[in-house]
């Protein structure tokens, strides 16, 4: 096997790991964010406080998967990292502002007296802004972006890199903004709302006021989410030739099967939810997210960014990807292990009266 072949294989592995890490982020923090959006409609600070307390010990670990995804993207695919994030400046900025306000609200809300209400809102609005920004970024990524080699800034000065063959993002600040990306922003919020609802049902005791409200909330958002999924699939089919070519290509039955499995998992989740088997409903719901996410990545293959970066074009030099693999792969299961342990320690149901104890 020659070195290029090994490098391509390793790069593909990192592409799969990246997919998995993004999924962890969406699956874990999505629920936290959705619970935050639920808190937008909370009548009092005690309820918002209880929702925050229910995730006090785990939200940081969950959110950190996003940072890990950023780090893996930078480490394994710097060419994509440096051009896609440039393109996604505004949506990422919005998501990051949301993340900032909810991260500090977690720590401030519990200590606040006069400003409790303010930090409660900062938590809830931050939780809304973050998935909206992330959803915008996702839709924009699916659309691809323009690139060209040469100086990224319109300046005329000599330099080693001005004539470099590396292509940079070359669009404008608002290239990302289309009806489709706005729709995926909305879709991400709906998905988060559903995940948050399922989480709150499983997290709070049956009969508790938060649990009761979350039951209705979840029912509503499960129907809305189903509609959103259908619209997203039809819309993508219409505007993305790379997706259409796969879905109705010679292997169409694979994709049809995936769709059937998604619908089955969604049905199981809704049934479990109706029977108030909340934790089972949450797991099936996460299953829907996972299958859709894998299907999306499979549809994009061999692209990382459709019509923009293929996995092999974006690959790091063989030597760097080898070092990254050698030193980092072993840590992925370790990370999963201690993240899981932390969630395990803080498992169990809460009541609205629960809050940070004396913290």
């Amino acid at each position: 096997m020659d070195i290029t072949h090994i490098a391509t294989t390793l790069t593909t592995w990192w592409w799969l790991l990246l997919c998995l890490i993004f999924l962890f982020y969406i699956g874990l923090d999505g629920a936290d964010l959705g619970a935050g959006i639920f808190a937008l409609f909370s009548p009092d600070e005690e309820e918002r406080g209880a929702i925050m307390a229910s995730m006090a010990g785990i939200w940081d670990g969950n959110e950190t998967w996003l940072v890990v995804a950023g780090g893996v993207l930078f480490g394994a695919f710097p060419l994509v990292y440096g051009s896609a994030f440039n393109y996604l400046m505004i949506p990422l900025m919005l998501a990051l502002w949301g993340i900032i306000s909810r991260a500090v609200a977690f720590e401030f809300h519990v200590h606040a007296t006069g400003s409790k209400r303010f930090w409660g809102w900062a938590f809830a609005f931050g939780s809304l802004l973050a998935p909206f920004g992330a959803g915008l970024a996702l839709g924009a990524t699916l659309q691809g972006f323009p690139m060209h080699a040469g100086p990224a800034m319109a300046v005329h000065s000599p330099g080693l890199f001005v004539d470099s063959p590396v292509p940079h993002f070359s669009g404008t600040a608002l290239t990302f903004l289309t009806p489709f990306s706005l729709f995926t922003g909305f879709g991400a919020v709906v998905a988060a709302c559903l995940a948050g609802g399922l989480y709150l049902c499983a997290r709070f005791e049956p009969g508790d006021v938060i649990n009761k409200k979350a039951q209705t909330w979840t029912t509503f958002f499960s129907y809305l989410a189903l509609m959103t999924i259908v619209v997203a699939i039809v819309w993508s089919y219409a505007i993305f030739p790379w997706a259409a070519a796969k879905w109705t290509g010679p292997n169409w039955w694979n994709w049809a099967l995936v769709l059937v499995i998604v619908l089955f998992a969604a049905y199981k989740s809704m049934m479990a939810h109706t029977m108030q088997r909340d934790f089972t409903a949450l797991l099936w719901g996460e299953g829907v997210v996972a299958i859709l996410w894998f299907a999306m990545w499979a549809t994009m293959y061999p692209y990382i960014v459709p019509d923009t970066w293929t996995i092999s074009a974006a690959a790091n030099p063989a030597d760097s990807i080898a070092v990254f693999t050698l030193f980092m792969t072993g840590f992925v299961p370790v990370m999963i292990m201690y993240n899981w342990y932390q969630i395990w320690v803080f498992r169990g149901r809460y009541t609205k009266k629960a809050s940070y104890m004396g913290h």
Partner: protein, 484 residues
């Protein structure tokens, strides 16, 4: 004018400088204090003295607010390289991106995996597991600092790489990771975090003694803090000097800017050995309009000889010279603070030797306590000025002597850059104001001396039952705790 000082490039630098300065407000305290908390926990477990636990519990409240602010501002940092410096990220990715990846995987996530256990796990996990968690938080945050410093130092001394097809390819990982600047740069930064941690805790303790609240408890903290500072502050001065000597060799333009050193040789041909206490660089950046100069000191500092040659700005073309104002004054502020903090540690130790380091004795010396409170703020300023010296001194390069800053800037308009700047001013200032407000609130409220010690409650509600959604209520707590 230097390309790097034209508006679009200057704004991109400001955008990045702002978020970095606002992030470095939090993480050094997390790193320093996490080790001190670990020390307090060990002291408690070994001695059984409840007061160590009370101190740990109290400082942990400040720690977690600080940690939250660090995370809030830190997620942006991980994305900001690609957003604001895309072409730099692409070119430097094979090394720089790897290191940032190492950081998130081995350190950031490692820390996040244990922080919840450390802060909220007191009654949920055993004492041994808790101590292990505290240690892991401390170790992981230091490891994080290590990788970040490796990455930043490599931008100062880009060893172990070649440029090929417009990207940096690593030829020697060993040289790239242990690059010249990292060897002194990391210890210098890490010791700074310890100094910050000790001085912040010492300042809080001094404040309590000054106010005569829980004075007996907090003098128990102040004493070891002062003793530890007597050791680390002189070490820091030595590390700083060593880093300076290294910079003089490996990054001469940066050193020349730090010292306002324009002329390598005097008009009579002898080496220019003068060190400026104060200098006003001229507009053309090729000399000082005014300076107060002490001969020989510069050579002593940078070459450790009486009249060794120190390369001045005139050895480099005008387009390769950094701005002098920021590095020159920022550097002097940092050094002055370093010596002042050493003086405070000495003063405290002398009081101890004379047997005056008691609540009574210290309260008779309110100026010592007041200056100790002030010393809790000074390390922040020293860290800021030190980092500004480093970053502005490297200009006009983003990767020293290879990639110019303007070549690394993302494709973006001035409007975007201003939107970023304006938004982050609002968000980061809110974080800053909020965090410091809640620090003061926690401090004014005082330590909790009444709650039962961990491991002594037999509260059935706390018992962890079988997991998942089928678990019985395991966290039924009384209503929101009362506010003061």
């Amino acid at each position: 004018m230097l390309m790097e000082n034209t508006l679009p490039i200057l704004l991109s630098r400001l955008d990045f400088a702002w978020i970095t300065s606002m992030h470095i407000l939090w993480t050094p305290l997390t790193i320093g204090v996490s080790w001190i908390l670990f020390g307090l926990e060990v002291a408690w477990l070994r001695s059984g003295d409840e007061r160590w636990y009370r101190l740990e519990g109290f400082f942990e409240k400040i720690f977690i607010v600080n940690f939250g602010a660090g995370v809030a501002t830190g997620v942006t940092m991980e994305m900001a390289f690609g957003i604001l410096y895309g072409p730099f990220s692409q070119a430097a990715g094979p090394f720089f991106g790897n290191i940032l990846g190492f950081e998130t995987i081995t350190a950031f996530m490692y820390e996040a995996g244990f922080i919840g256990l450390m802060v909220f796990g007191w009654n949920k996990i055993g004492k041994g597991m808790h101590l292990f968690s505290t240690f892991n938080v401390a170790f992981a945050s230091s490891l994080s600092a290590y990788w970040i410093l490796v990455a930043n130092s490599w931008m100062q001394t880009p060893n172990g790489v070649v440029l090929k097809d417009g990207i940096f390819q690593v030829t020697n990982w060993w040289h790239a990771i242990f690059n010249d600047n990292a060897i002194w740069g990391f210890p210098h930064m890490w010791v700074a975090t310890m100094i910050l941690g000790f001085f912040v805790l010492a300042a809080v303790s001094a404040w309590y003694i000054l106010k005569n609240r829980h004075a007996d408890l907090f003098i128990k903290m102040l004493k070891p803090a002062v003793l530890a500072l007597l050791i680390v502050t002189p070490i820091q001065i030595w590390l700083g000097d060593s880093l300076g000597v290294d910079v003089a060799h490996s990054e001469p333009t940066s050193l020349a800017a730090m010292e306002g050193h324009y002329h390598t040789y005097l008009p009579d041909g002898k080496p220019n050995t003068g060190w400026h206490l104060i200098a006003f660089p001229n507009a053309k950046n090729d000399g000082n309009v005014f300076a107060i100069t002490i001969p020989h000191v510069l050579s002593l500092l940078e070459t450790h000889t009486w009249d060794g040659t120190v390369t001045g700005m005139d050895s480099f073309p005008a387009k390769d010279r950094p701005d002098v104002w920021v590095p020159f004054y920022a550097f002097r502020i940092m050094v002055a603070i370093g010596f002042f903090l050493f003086f405070m540690a000495l003063w405290g130790t002398l009081l101890m030797m004379r047997g005056k380091f008691t609540v009574q004795g210290l309260r008779q010396r309110p100026w010592f306590l007041r200056l100790m409170v002030l010393s809790g703020f000074l390390p922040y300023l020293a860290i800021w000025t030190g980092w500004w010296t480093r970053e502005v001194g490297r200009q006009p390069w983003v990767v020293y002597n290879i990639m110019r800053t303007y070549e690394g800037v993302s494709h973006m308009g001035v409007g975007q850059e201003i939107a970023w700047f304006a938004g982050y001013i609002v968000f980061e200032l809110s974080v800053w104001a909020g965090a410091w407000y809640f620090f003061s609130k926690v401090i004014r409220k005082g330590p909790d001396l009444d709650s039962p010690l961990p491991g002594t409650t037999s509260d059935a509600d706390n018992a962890v039952e079988a997991g998942g959604g089928m678990a019985r209520p395991s966290f039924a707590k009384p209503a929101l705790h009362s506010e003061p």
